[in-house]
């Protein structure tokens, strides 16, 4: 028989197994890093100010409140990134939702009961943001626009609409329940925005780790073709992911308007990078296929602790940018060592 086996064997090279210790260390590193940061600031506080950093309710509340907006954005982004996409428009979706919610309350407030007006404002804000997400998803999944480009375009659109709707300035509200939502506390201790965010995080954890929806998100990021051939509606799923992310950005916008009793188009402007950083620090891969909600939660806390801690120890605020940037790079390096993807 002639040479017909030219194509038969392309056997996998042996020993592609990663060192186990390194692997589990990689998975645990965000936790270790967060603990390390807390210890560092605690020691500093004891030595320099003779106070505690961690055992201080105001500090903890401030850190959690600061992490609300980046975390809400990051939770949606986690799923988008796991599925191999990216959403750059979320920052201005926050702004759009904030302005829409404020405008609604301006429109309705003296006339309607406060609760009804707040509810309608929230619904309108979430609807406005879900439109942005649906357009993102349609562009990417149906028209094949690369996520980076499609959502960059929608970043511009959401930004423009937000500024147009706000008339270029902040939109003040006067709704007692709205400001109670933003500034009140559960049992006088836990700020309501933190409570809302905790519920969202819990739901997203359930969605990603326990349901078919989550499983398909991983499968699409791991091997898009395999997902398609397994009969998963990849296009529809992708659209849902961008809509979900936009809704969470909308929630962040509503919370912004509640906290500051005013909406502004630039409400979420500086948050996108922090959110992406939280996702990456939390172990998600920008190549898709990996990431967890718990990881992202830790990532968001790390960033909030760095930012608050540096202010706490009186470092010039600009150092925050450098510190967060350094942590992002560090976490990607850790990921590369862990997955053996570096040195290509």
């Amino acid at each position: 028989m002639p040479e017909l086996n030219a194509k038969t064997a392309s056997v996998e090279p042996p020993g592609s197994e990663r060192p186990k210790l390194l692997h589990s260390l990689g998975a645990a590193w965000p936790w270790l890093f967060l603990i390390g940061l807390l210890v560092f600031f605690e020691v500093w506080a004891r030595i320099s100010y003779q106070t505690s950093f961690v055992l201080n309710l105001t500090n903890v509340q401030s850190i959690l409140l600061a992490s609300v907006q980046p975390l809400l954005i990051a939770l949606g982004l986690t799923l988008v990134i796991i599925a191999g996409g990216i959403d750059l428009s979320v920052g201005f979706t926050v702004g759009l939702a904030a302005v829409v919610s404020a405008r609604m309350m301006q429109l309705l407030d003296p006339g309607l009961p406060a609760l009804l007006s707040l509810l309608l404002a929230v619904v309108a804000a979430l609807l406005a943001s879900v439109v942005v997400g649906a357009v993102n998803g349609f562009l990417i999944a149906r028209l094949g626009v690369p996520p980076f480009i499609g959502t960059l375009g929608m970043y511009g659109v959401a930004r423009g609409v937000g500024f147009l709707a706000s008339g270029g300035s902040t939109v003040a509200t006067n709704n007692p329940l709205n400001s109670a939502l933003g500034n009140g506390r559960l049992l006088g201790v836990v700020p309501w925005p933190v409570v809302v965010t905790a519920f969202v995080a819990l739901f997203m954890h359930y969605l990603l780790s326990r349901t078919r929806f989550g499983q398909y998100t991983y499968a699409i990021g791991g091997n898009r073709n395999a997902a398609i051939r397994a009969g998963i509606g990849v296009e529809t799923h992708t659209i849902k992911l961008y809509m979900l992310t936009a809704v969470l950005a909308g929630v962040a916008g509503v919370i912004y308007t509640a906290r500051f009793t005013a909406g502004a188009a630039q409400a979420g402007e500086p948050t996108l990078l922090d959110a992406i950083a939280a996702v990456v620090i939390g172990g998600a891969s920008l190549f898709g296929g990996a990431g967890t909600v718990v990881g992202t939660l830790i990532g968001a806390l790390i960033i909030a602790v760095i930012q608050f801690g540096l202010v706490f120890i009186d470092v010039q605020p600009f150092w925050q940018f450098i510190a967060v940037g350094a942590v992002i790079i560090l976490s990607v390096l850790v990921d590369q060592v862990r997955s053996g993807r570096g040195r290509t």
Partner: protein
């Protein structure tokens, strides 16, 4: 339908079981990619309990043909009959619902997911917590995939992402998936290509076992000794058209090679 004048006039073989309706038939399957006709009007019949081998050189159109049979591609022309009834497969799910399971040349596994997740990909069992929240039934997925891998005599970690497994183990996962779902038609695109000799033998053995259970199998391979070991019939493709069809005991490796290269 013999598109190549150089080919010696083929003896069109009588179907193995002429009195029965084929499980799966394709008529005039045609698929173009831009200007390239990857598949130019191919006919195929597959009977229950029969192994049909697809042979042909690289780029002959074998993978394209089976993707038309499994719903991945929609043919530009031609007809598909399942159990004698015309069907249109808009996507892979519709094929799987009919009982057409496919093991693709590139395996189509999600490397970041574990064995159980891959066996059940797209068809995960779900239970309800508090009668309300649907939750993936991972223990059931794990147990079922363990059982099917054991029936294949393959032992591997079920909890690691499949990208950590060896090529042969991944192959086993892909085969296990098809078996678990009790295929009526099983399409295997080079299932032995990445395997060592013992595993190749296991796959060949397995094909024989499924055949006795009445599964219709389409088997693509570049390895003629595998083809001659398991199949009943060989369909040879060359540059997207049928170069010939032979019953296994009426042909030789030499003749098949001639059909493949067009000599």
């Amino acid at each position: 339908m013999n598109a190549d004048p150089v080919t010696p006039a083929p003896v069109t073989p009588a179907p193995v079981t002429a009195d029965r309706i084929p499980l799966l038939s394709a008529r005039n399957m045609t698929k173009r990619f831009g200007g390239l006709t990857a598949l130019g009007g191919v006919d195929l019949d597959l009977y229950a309990g029969e192994v049909l081998a697809l042979a042909g050189d690289n780029g002959a159109g074998k993978s394209t043909l089976i993707k038309c049979l499994s719903g991945v591609y929609q043919p530009d022309d031609g007809q598909l009959l399942f159990g004698g009834r015309e069907v249109r497969l808009g996507n892979p799910r519709e094929a799987r619902e009919l009982g057409i399971e496919t093991i693709y040349q590139d395996l189509a596994l999600a490397g970041n997911l574990d064995v159980g997740a891959n066996v059940f990909l797209g068809r995960e069992p779900v239970r309800r917590v508090f009668g309300l929240f649907p939750v993936l039934d991972r223990p059931a997925m794990r147990a079922a995939s363990q059982q099917v891998l054991e029936s294949l005599d393959i032992h591997t970690s079920l909890d690691r992402p499949v990208e950590d497994l060896s090529g042969g183990q991944r192959q086993a996962v892909a085969i296990g998936r098809a078996i678990h779902w009790k295929a009526r038609v099983l399409i295997m695109d080079e299932p032995t290509a990445a395997l060592g000799v013992p595993e190749q033998r296991k796959v060949v053995e397995l094909i024989g076992r499924l055949k006795t259970q009445g599964v219709g199998i389409i088997f693509i391979s570049h390895n003629l000794s595998d083809i001659f070991a398991v199949s009943d019939r060989i369909l040879v493709l060359r540059r997207g058209v049928m170069a010939g069809e032979r019953l296994i005991h009426e042909t030789s490796g030499e003749e098949i090679v001639k059909l493949m290269v067009g000599g």
